[in-house]
């Protein structure tokens, strides 16, 4: 995985290009509603590995997910390197917008669209909880998180770029670390950090005693 990340760093025109954005009152309110709903209703968190089993094979077979012209076998070897397997299979606690009710989801999407430039309403979010003891290894996100539909992707390729933003939902507590690019982020509740998907290396960990709560919006921005 180290080689794969270094390759991307050198070849994907990355780096510390993220921006800190002030969120609108309506987006703030919508995010509060999401958090409150999840806590009040005790919505189940799904534990996913950062990279699923055979992720290397998947990416090798779906190279459009990355702007990448490497041989498939090389990608597979790097992503499935046994020395990183344990670290990359550590669980991440996730709730996606698909499983939340419309009355919670729609105001958040509308608020994001009012604040950012969104192509054809292509926006989703997911909520990530980093519990004490959780780690998310440094990684680049693959493209098109929000469109699992390959037909949609084909019809719209070249018309948008992938954007992503983290909105922190708690003040930083001791032991909560977030990296964006080379920077350790000193976040507060409602801080929003926006970047081009694929372009910014990031990761996080929590070796303190309080949960870290974050909402990730992913959308297409018209070119």
């Amino acid at each position: 995985m180290l080689e794969w990340n270094e390759w991307q760093k050198e070849n994907c025109n990355t780096h510390n290009r993220y921006e800190r954005v002030t969120i609108s009152a309506s987006l703030k309110s919508a995010c509060d509603s999401i958090k409150k709903y999840i806590i009040d209703k005790n919505v189940k968190w799904y534990n996913y590995p950062v990279t699923p089993l055979n992720y290397g094979s998947f990416i090798a077979d779906n190279r459009y997910e990355f702007s990448c012209n490497l041989p498939a076998q090389q990608i597979q070897e790097w992503l499935d390197a046994p020395e990183s397997l344990r670290a990359m299979s550590l669980p991440v606690r996730v709730i996606t917008s698909y499983i939340l009710p419309d009355e919670i989801v729609l105001p958040a999407l509308a608020a994001l669209e009012a604040q950012e430039s969104v192509y054809e309403h292509a926006v989703i979010f997911r909520v990530i909880k980093l519990k004490p003891g959780d780690i998310m290894m440094l990684h680049y996100d693959p493209k098109s998180f929000y469109t699992q539909d390959k037909v949609w992707q084909k019809g719209h390729r070249g018309k948008y770029k992938d954007k992503r933003a983290f909105i922190y939902m708690n003040d930083r507590a001791p032991g909560q670390i977030s990296y964006l690019g080379d920077h350790e982020i000193d976040f507060k509740a409602y801080d929003m950090f926006k970047y081009d998907v694929e372009k910014v290396y990031h990761g996080s960990c929590n070796f303190g005693y309080d949960d870290r709560f974050l909402i990730t919006f992913s959308w297409a921005e018209p070119l």
């Binding site: 995985m1 180290l2 990340n5 020395e83 990183s84 344990r86 670290a87 990359m88 550590l90 519990k131 004490p132 003891g133 780690i135 998310m136 290894m137 440094l138 001791p174 032991g175 670390i177 990296y179 080379d182 350790e184 290396y201 990761g203 996080s204 960990c205 070796f207 303190g208 005693y209």
Partner: protein
């Protein structure tokens, strides 16, 4: 465990005091010899849970400061199921007894030339933080050499000596500070008085030597 840690912050008069030094040349030579020996002989890092079974009992046994405190409460705080998973995560540790006694003794002598050590009380271990490893924020319990009745004669000291340069995703907290370390940087503090923890969400292992000794009181 959160309550136990919060309790210690108040009860043990936690500070943010630590001293940064860079290892001198003589000690570097001895440390490098230890590392070479470990590499040449392919010494394994045994993987152990950070908090072993019965840890609360150990704390109560050795920590005279809490002997007057309700034992049930310490058990409840230390064994809090909410943090059981976090504290049972594995750490990889090589002990000084994995090295030949002559090599250990040479290191101790070199260390005693530089630092004030009470009664030859120096031990060390090497800690490897693999990618994906994490050590929760905690206070160390009293030093190995502490025995009731001797505390007026010395102070338990500990030092973290980094054996590799910092690389992305490696995080180390001392007190309220994130440490930007380099190879041979050493951070010294009084055992029990400084909160610390670390994690590694990068792709290179971090090697650190933990040296513990007793310093005679003035």
């Amino acid at each position: 465990m959160k309550k136990w840690t919060d309790f210690q912050t108040v009860f043990q008069k936690a500070t943010n005091n630590y001293e940064h030094t860079v290892l001198d040349n003589l000690l570097r030579i001895h440390v490098d010899k230890l590392i070479s020996y470990a590499e040449d002989n392919n010494i394994k890092f045994p993987v152990v849970p950070f908090i072993p079974e019965g840890y609360a009992d150990e704390l109560i046994k050795w920590n005279k400061n809490v002997s007057s405190f309700p034992i049930n409460k310490i058990h409840a705080w230390v064994d809090d199921p909410k943090y059981k998973h976090s504290f049972s995560l594995p750490i990889s540790v090589m002990r000084d007894t994995d090295f030949p006694s002559g090599m250990r003794q040479a290191f101790r002598l070199a260390f005693r030339r530089q630092y004030r050590v009470y009664d030859n009380n120096v031990t060390f271990r090497i800690h490897k933080l693999n990618p994906g490893d994490l050590v929760m924020l905690h206070y160390d319990p009293v030093g190995k050499f502490t025995r009731p009745g001797l505390s007026t004669k010395y102070t338990d000291k500990r030092a973290f000596l980094f054996l590799s340069d910092h690389s992305p995703g490696q995080v180390f907290y001392l007190g309220d500070d994130t440490i930007e370390y380099k190879k041979y940087d050493m951070y010294t503090f009084n055992v029990q008085e400084l909160l610390h923890g670390s994690c590694n969400f990068g792709y290179e292992s971090r090697y650190m030597m933990i040296i513990t000794w007793s310093e005679p009181k003035e």
